[in-house]
Symmetry: C2
Subunit: 165 residues, 2 copies
Amino acid sequence: MAARRQYEELAQQLSAIGAVKRGLGRMLPHECPAGSAAVLTLLDRHGEMRMSRLAELMAIDMSVTSRHVAHVAERGWIDRSPDPADKRSRILRLTPAGRDMLADLSERSMNALAHYLADWSDDEVDQLNTLLGRLRASFGDCRPVPAAPAVPAAAPPERTTRTPV
Amino acid sequence: MAARRQYEELAQQLSAIGAVKRGLGRMLPHECPAGSAAVLTLLDRHGEMRMSRLAELMAIDMSVTSRHVAHVAERGWIDRSPDPADKRSRILRLTPAGRDMLADLSERSMNALAHYLADWSDDEVDQLNTLLGRLRASFGDCRPVPAAPAVPAAAPPERTTRTPV
DNA sequence: TATTGTTATACTCTATAACTATA
DNA sequence: TATAGTTATAGAGTATAACAATA
């Protein structure tokens, strides 16, 4: 349990880190903004998946996910094949063109980070990665709470990624 | 100099950290979104200043700063007195109402962070703060490069916070 | 002529809500 | 009746460009 001053400092650091994200964002190809890059990266790391899973990994509402996915699908970087087991769902999968784009993205972030973090050691980057991962885990599921149903009864704790009715 | 894998991991962590920021953002009062909170916090930490200095601290364009500042000024949290030394400028200063709002903000972020980071040690929070600060410093001035002037000659390196002509 | 700050416009990202189609 | 996904709409944040007032 840390001191108030440290928490305020952390809040400030998180607020200010947006500048770094914007800096990295400027390296992206015009056709592939940050949201699209995240979709491609997650499909690469975790393999094919459904919309709902992707929304969970991105920690955003499925409606937003749907638009990011539409963007990358329109450009041919993924395809959406119907899920034979559930006709409501579609399976998202990287295409060869998507892998090409990923290689491009990797090249760009590599260049930018190698430039800006030239004086960081291997260990320091690892440390930061570890702490950021832990921070995300600690916040875990802190997404907007669905509006309480009219008759709560015994149903509410079921948290999903879809937009609440 | 770190390995490609680490850089890609860092890019991913930074992309995903948005979820934490959004989580904290949900704790804010409806009238005081993140941009406004940043203005108040920076005025508290660094004391009264001009628009251009605030834009630099926030690492955003002055046009954006202007809107954030207008928002908090309309609510009486800061005042903008004319700078006697330069009639183009205005001096931004917290009002008592602004300090009240800051106390509220501090209370809220304290509660949220103490809740989510309950199992973090003092040292770990410090470590993360330090690394994030260093990350920001390393990226330093990575803001959009002003479009090259028609006749560069010997003028360009002067970097300011204003919108390029 | 150059600089400070404001405003208008456009784009990205997100959330809420209403809707379709399946289960 | 509930769930997977889509679309429409609204709001926050940012960047670019054009502008007014002052240096």
